[in-house]
C-alpha cells in the first residue's frame, strides 16, 4: 500500500496531494531557512495563528455576496490579510513599546487565534454557505482537494520559492551581520519585512495541506535538520528544501495509504523523523558524534596523566586511568608499569620536559602557547628546534658550560 502511494498509484486525489505537499515542503524548507538564520523562527507561529480570523471573515464576506464560502482563493486572500495585520502588530509592539518580541508574539498569537475560533463558531450557526470543512484549515484536510486547489498551491509555492531565492543574498547578510549590511546601504528593515512576507505567503499556501497550526513545523524543522549536516549557508537552504520536499511527499503518501491518517500531522512527523535521525547521527554536530568525541578526548587525557604518573613513580588513584593503562598493556593491575609502559612513560616525561624548556625560550612564545597537555611537541617544532631543546636538557641550567 505504501509502496503504491510512494509511486503515485493510489489514484488521482492522492497523487495531487502528494505532489502539492512536496512543492509546499520545498518552498517552506527554503523560506524557513532564512527565518531560522535570522533567529526569528517563532514569529512564524504568530503569523500562522493570525490567519484564522481572516479565514472566517473571508467566508462570511463571500457568503454575504452570494458566493461559495469555501472558495480556496478567497479564503487564502482573507487569511493573508489578517496574517499581515498580526505580523504588523508584533513588529509594532516590539518596536514601539517595552514589550519583548516573545511576549508580543504570545499576545498576538492567542488574541488572533481566539478571535478566529469565535468567528468559526459563529459561522457554524449560519444557515447558508456549506460551512462544513472550514475547520479543516486548522490541521489541514486534503480529502476532496480540487485540481484548482492543487494548481493554486503549486503556483503560490513556486512563486514564493522564486522570490526567496532572488532575495537570498540580502537576507543572509542581514541575518549574519545586520550592522554591516546597514553600513553597505542595505535597508535592513525592508529585508526583514520581505523575509516575513515570504513566510506569510508560505503559511497561507500551506493552509489547505498542513493547516495553520502545523505549518510552523514545516518552516522550522527542515532548516534545523539541515544545519546538523553542513556549515555552508547555501547547503543549508538547499538541503532544507530537499528535506521539506521529501517530508511532504512521503508524509502525504503515508497518509494516503490508510484511511484514517491525517495528512498534515503525518507530514510533520515524517520531517521530525528526519530531524531525530540527524540529531543523533549527523557527523560533527550530532549528539552521538559529540559523545564519542568527548569520550575519546577524556581517554587521551587519562592516558597522558597515567603515563606521566608512571614515569614519576607516583601512585595512580583514578580507576579509569588504571583500566586504560592495563587494557593497553602499559601497566599491570597492581599499578606496576610493563616494559612497554615504562618506555611510553619515559617518552611522555621527556616531552613534558621539552615543553617546559620551550616555554622558557623567549622567541618561541607563540609556539609554547599551543601547549594543552596533549599536543605532541613534534607537531609544533621542527626537528632542528627539537634538537636545540634536547641540547638544553642535556646541559642542565645553572651549571656553567
Amino acid at each position: 500500500m505504501i509502496w503504491q502511494a510512494l509511486t503515485l498509484q493510489l489514484g488521482y486525489n492522492a497523487t495531487l496531494v502528494a505532489i502539492g505537499a512536496m512543492l509546499l515542503g520545498v518552498s517552506a524548507g527554503v523560506t524557513g531557512t532564512f527565518l531560522f538564520l535570522r533567529k526569528r523562527a517563532l514569529v512564524s507561529d504568530a503569523i500562522s495563528h493570525a490567519t484564522l480570523p481572516g479565514v472566517g471573515l473571508a467566508f462570511i464576506v463571500m457568503v454575504a455576496f452570494g458566493g461559495d464560502g469555501r472558495n480556496l482563493a478567497g479564503l487564502l486572500i482573507g487569511s493573508a490579510a489578517t496574517a499581515a495585520l498580526g505580523l504588523a502588530s508584533v513588529q509594532w509592539l516590539t518596536r514601539r513599546t517595552r514589550l519583548a518580541e516573545d511576549s508580543a508574539i504570545g499576545a498576538v498569537l492567542s488574541v488572533f487565534f481566539g478571535f478566529g475560533i469565535v468567528l468559526l463558531t459563529v459561522i457554524q450557526t449560519m444557515q447558508s454557505g456549506r460551512q462544513a470543512g472550514l475547520d479543516g484549515l486548522l490541521l489541514g484536510s486534503t480529502a476532496g482537494m480540487l485540481f484548482s486547489d492543487a494548481v493554486l498551491i503549486a503556483v503560490g509555492g513556486a512563486l514564493t520559492l522564486a522570490l526567496t531565492l532572488l532575495l537570498r543574498r540580502p537576507m543572509i547578510m542581514v541575518a549574519f551581520d545586520p550592522e554591516f549590511a546597514a553600513a553597505q546601504g542595505m535597508n535592513t528593515r525592508a529585508v526583514d519585512f520581505a523575509t516575513m512576507a515570504l513566510v506569510m505567503a508560505v503559511t497561507v499556501v500551506g493552509l489547505k495541506i498542513v493547516g495553520l497550526i502545523l505549518i510552523v513545523a514545516l518552516l522550522i524543522i527542515p532548516p534545523v535538520t539541515a544545519r546538523f549536516w553542513t556549515d555552508n549557508t547555501a547547503r543549508v537552504w538547499q538541503l532544507s528544501g530537499v528535506i521539506g520536499g521529501v517530508s511532504g511527499f512521503i508524509g502525504a503518501a503515508i497518509s494516503a495509504s490508510a484511511p484514517a491518517l491525517p495528512t498534515g500531522p503525518i507530514i510533520v512527523l515524517t520531517s521530525f523523523t528526519l530531524f531525530a535521525l540527524s540529531l543523533f547521527f549527523a557527523p560533527n554536530r550530532g549528539v552521538l558524534a559529540a559523545i564519542l568525541r568527548h569520550l575519546r578526548f577524556q581517554r587521551r587525557v587519562h592516558m597522558r596523566q597515567g603515563l606521566l604518573a608512571l614515569a614519576q613513580g607516583q601512585p595512580i588513584f583514578e580507576r579509569y586511568t588504571m583500566r586504560i593503562l592495563a587494557r593497553e598493556g602499559l601497566a599491570r593491575a597492581d599499578g606496576v608499569a610493563t616494559d612497554d609502559g615504562r618506555a611510553r612513560a619515559a617518552k611522555a616525561l621527556l616531552d613534558e620536559k621539552r615543553w617546559e624548556i620551550l616555554r622558557g625560550m623567549a622567541d618561541h612564545e607563540s609556539t609554547a602557547a599551543l601547549y594543552d597537555g596533549l599536543r605532541q611537541i613534534e607537531t609544533v617544532v621542527t626537528p632542528d628546534q627539537l634538537a636545540e631543546i634536547d641540547a638544553r636538557i642535556a646541559a642542565p641550567q645553572g651549571v656553567p658550560a
Binding site: L166, L167, M173, F176, E179, Q184, R227, N232, T233
Partner: protein, 267 residues
C-alpha cells in the same frame, strides 16, 4: 557680552570647503538612547589620506558616533557628508569593520563566503558569484594572512582570526574610507601586527582610515591623527597637537591618573 570660545573647537570656524574636502565630515551630530545624549553636538572633519584614532573613556560614545556616521543608528540631529556628498550616494566608497562580538560566530557560513559579502553591492540581487569574485576574495584573505582558512566554518577561528576575516571583508569592497570599531580588542599580538600592517598599507595607497581605539599606549605608533571624545568632542588634530596630557585629562577626567598619562606620552 564677552567672547567665549570652546576649547573643543580650538577656536576654528568650519567652512563649506572643509566639508567638501573631507572623506568624512560630521556636523552637529547628537545621538541619544532614550533621553540621554551619548554623543552631543559633535563636529568632526577627518583628513584625506590620514589614519585617525577615535579615543575616549568607556561609554564616551565612540562606537555610537561611528554607527551614526554610517547610518546604522539614526542620529537625533546632525549631518554626514562623505567626500563632500551625502552618505547614501557614497556607500560604495566606505567600508566598515564592526566589533567582532556583534555577530553570532556559529552562523553556518565559511570564511570565503563572509569575505564575498563585502562585494554585495557590486553583485546586487541577480549576478552570480564568479571565479573572478572568488579569487579577489582569496586575495583579500591573503592580505590579512588568512588564505589557508578560506573554507573553514567561521566558528572554528580564534578571535584574532575572526577579526582578520572582518578586515578582509572590508578590503573586498575596494573602498576609499575605512571605519573600524576597536579592531584590536582581544586579539593576539600576531593579529595586531597583521592588521596594523594592512592599515598602514591602505594609508600608503592614499586611503583614509578611522578607527575606534582603546589602547592609548599605541596611539602615537599607529596613528597620525586623533579625535578625543567624551560625549562632546574634546580635541581633534594631529597626534602632536591633540594627544596632549591636558586633552587626555579633559577627556578621561579622574579615570586616568596623571602618572599614567605621562607614561603614555613618554612611550
Amino acid at each position: 557680552m564677552p567672547e567665549l570660545t570652546l576649547a573643543s573647537n580650538g577656536g576654528q570656524v568650519l567652512t563649506a570647503e572643509d566639508t567638501a574636502n573631507s572623506p568624512l565630515a560630521i556636523r552637529g551630530m547628537t545621538v541619544s538612547y532614550g533621553q540621554k545624549p551619548v554623543v552631543f553636538s559633535v563636529d568632526a572633519t577627518f583628513v584625506d589620506g590620514s589614519m585617525t584614532a577615535i579615543i575616549g573613556p568607556n561609554g564616551a560614545g565612540k562606537s555610537t558616533m561611528l554607527k551614526a556616521a554610517l547610518g546604522i543608528l539614526r542620529p537625533l540631529s546632525g549631518s554626514v557628508t562623505v567626500y563632500g556628498k551625502p552618505l547614501d550616494e557614497q556607500r560604495a566608497r566606505i567600508a566598515y569593520v564592526p566589533q567582532r562580538a556583534s555577530v553570532d560566530w556559529d552562523f553556518p557560513t565559511t570564511v570565503l563566503d563572509v569575505v564575498l559579502m563585502g562585494m554585495a553591492r557590486e553583485l546586487g540581487l541577480l549576478r552570480l558569484i564568479s571565479g573572478g569574485h572568488k579569487s579577489r576574495a582569496r586575495e583579500c584573505l591573503s592580505r590579512v594572512g588568512m588564505e589557508e582558512f578560506a573554507n573553514r566554518q567561521i566558528g572554528q577561528l580564534s578571535g584574532g582570526q575572526q577579526q582578520r576575516v572582518f578586515l578582509a571583508r572590508a578590503l573586498a569592497q575596494g573602498a576609499d574610507l575605512y571605519l573600524l570599531d576597536e579592531p584590536f580588542a582581544g586579539v593576539d599580538a600576531a593579529t595586531e601586527k597583521a592588521i596594523i600592517a594592512v592599515l598602514k598599507k591602505l594609508k600608503a595607497d592614499g586611503k583614509t582610515v578611522v578607527s575606534v581605539h582603546h589602547d592609548l599606549a599605541t596611539v602615537p605608533e599607529y596613528f597620525d591623527r586623533v579625535l578625543l571624545l567624551n560625549t562632546r568632542k574634546m580635541a581633534e588634530g594631529t597626534v602632536k597637537e591633540a594627544f596632549t596630557s591636558e586633552n587626555l585629562q579633559a577627556a578621561y577626567g579622574g579615570r586616568l591618573a596623571t602618572a599614567q598619562i605621562d607614561q603614555v606620552l613618554a612611550g
